[in-house]
Symmetry: C2
Subunit: 348 residues, 2 copies
């Protein structure tokens, strides 16, 4: 019997989830306005229309509505035993709301998108090879995490476990702050004189491109991530003030640029390599969710990507948290886990 | 008899000037270390080595040494009647120094370059189609300007007259400030956690690329433009603080992004189109340099590019400042000049 996926909000992301999930054998039902659902059926993004009430019977529900609606949708869905995930770009407030509602929830954020909105621009391959953040907290159930991360891999994406607050600070620094910087820089340049903008070169264009993003969408995204963005803004203002005070100190500025170049060389990309060879690392644990968060945070802060993770129950041994990692990263992961006081074994 | 060009500092820019000028029929002599001059001769960037003393006899001298050396070179050249220009990316202090030395000087700044340094990377076509700023002040002699702008066109570039202080503020906003922003953003991201940088997407890479520029070169450039950069930094900090205070006000942020998108759409490029059809606008003037600065500032702040400019002397009429403009811009320029109290006529 096929599994049923419910999607609330069938736009670019929701529609692409639907196309990819149907391709992977899911029955997909969608909740959106009648016109959108009709279009989504035509395009093969959903099998049929559903309602918020009926969707509670699905095996998995993906909330892909605009970020400002997600918290309200969580309240409307609760109480339910259905496993729920979302795709919003800020996670802290949403994960807290889901936990307040006692939902089975693993927050998601795919690092994939398009300048084009709406289901008519949806593509089954949108997530192919893309990083897909999944939140872990002290209350995340490892088996729920495993189900959602398995689904994410069915979409073609590569799951990465992350603490929701850490995720928001990352997004603030890597995406939201740059949008504000670009808008501020464009304002500074155009305030100088009317012709200033016409003198800009290609680097300036690269730097300010994100400032020309969809204003409505981005005002929503920034507002939802206000706490983390405020923190990133304060760090940035401090770093700028520091650089400003050093402008005439060539040695110091040279040092700053050397550090910047080193950081630039460490930048990743949106598409991440999938390794052919994986390894499992088993960590004997009491099955308490706190351990789970500690382990994923430890891996994350050491730049080790968790490809999969589940809890193995056994009659003869203690339960074990099993991480699937790139085989090359496994020995280092085992040593880190041992230094942190966990037992850890690499498995064949 | 061929004209003689002296180049002091035969690196990427100086060497490219030499190659282009030799192609245009100049005899080119160079001042640099013996090893560099030997290489430049081999590559055809100079005809022969010269000295700072001998170079005073050239028809035009281009100072293409590192920016931090230019002021000292001006003092070493003075006194001389030779027309001098430079290629430094900050102009205010250098133009003031040249005027203090009573040199015939028109400051230059080509918007062309390469990631690669040194004469071995020089190219005759480096300036082709590039904007080339030339400074104008109350003390600039229009005929000197005309000579230098003619030379710039021989290099294949398009001269744009600009006030030196305005130029520096433009460069601070369009280039120097972005370098600091990129360095600060890379610092904020790497301070969050070791893995943050690996999560960065292509937009972040575009935004921070300039942060990975040559540290030694850029510490020099920023130090030389410290006053204008300080001003741009203060404007930018204000704009960021303003945006920061508005994060949760979706309407205001949406308005900011709408303004940013409009500014982005007005961005120019480093290559500027050369119009096939030009027109001359003649402005009857007493031949006093002050008028010249007023006119070029008026054109600049209205986004009208001055392609050429000279003073026409006549026995029967008053002297006239003649601007060569794109034919399409000429009527608007005439009206602006008239509103500002100048007589102005478009000529066949």
């Amino acid at each position: 019997m096929s599994r049923t996926l419910g999607i609330v909000g069938v736009g670019l992301i929701g529609g692409s989830v639907g196309l990819a999930a149907r391709g992977a054998g899911w029955e997909v039902v969608g909740v959106d306005s009648p016109g959108v659902i009709e279009k989504a059926e035509e395009l093969g993004a959903v099998d049929r229309a559903s309602t918020l009430k009926e969707i509670r019977g699905a095996d998995l529900v993906v909330l892909a509505a605009p970020i400002s609606k997600v918290t309200a949708l969580l309240s409307e869905l609760a109480p339910t035993d259905t496993l729920v995930t979302d795709v919003a770009s800020a996670k802290g407030a949403i994960v807290r709301a889901a936990e307040d509602e006692n939902l089975r929830f693993v927050g998601g954020h795919p690092m994939a998108g398009s300048q084009l909105a709406g289901v008519s621009n949806a593509k089954a391959g949108l997530f192919h090879g893309a990083r897909y953040f999944l939140t872990t907290t002290a209350r995340t159930d490892p088996d729920d995490y495993r189900e959602v991360s398995g689904f994410v891999r069915e979409l073609g994406a590569v799951p990465t476990a992350v603490d929701p607050e850490k995720h928001d600070l990352l997004m603030a620094a890597l995406s939201h702050l740059p949008h504000l910087m670009a808008a501020a820089l464009l304002k500074v340049a155009s305030d100088i004189s009317p012709e200033a903008l016409s003198f800009a070169g290609p680097s300036f264009r690269d730097l300010t491109r994100v400032g020309a993003s969809n204003p409505g969408l981005w005002s929503d995204i920034l507002a939802e991530n206000a706490p983390a963005l405020g923190e990133a803004l304060a760090h940035f203002a401090g770093a700028m003030a520091q650089l400003g005070s050093e402008i005439q100190d060539r040695e110091k500025i040279e040092g700053r640029f050397l550090a910047a170049r080193e950081a630039y060389d460490a930048l990743g990309g949106i598409l991440i390599e999938k390794s052919g060879r994986n390894a499992e690392v088993a960590i004997p644990v009491e099955n308490r969710p706190g351990v789970f968060a500690e382990v994923t945070t430890l891996m994350g802060s050491n730049n080790i990507n968790i490809l999969d993770l589940y809890v193995r129950h056994s009659n003869t041994e203690r339960a074990a948290l099993v991480l699937t990692l790139d085989a090359k990263a496994a020995p280092a992961a085992r040593e880190m886990l041992r230094s942190a006081g966990f037992g850890a074994e690499i498995q064949a």
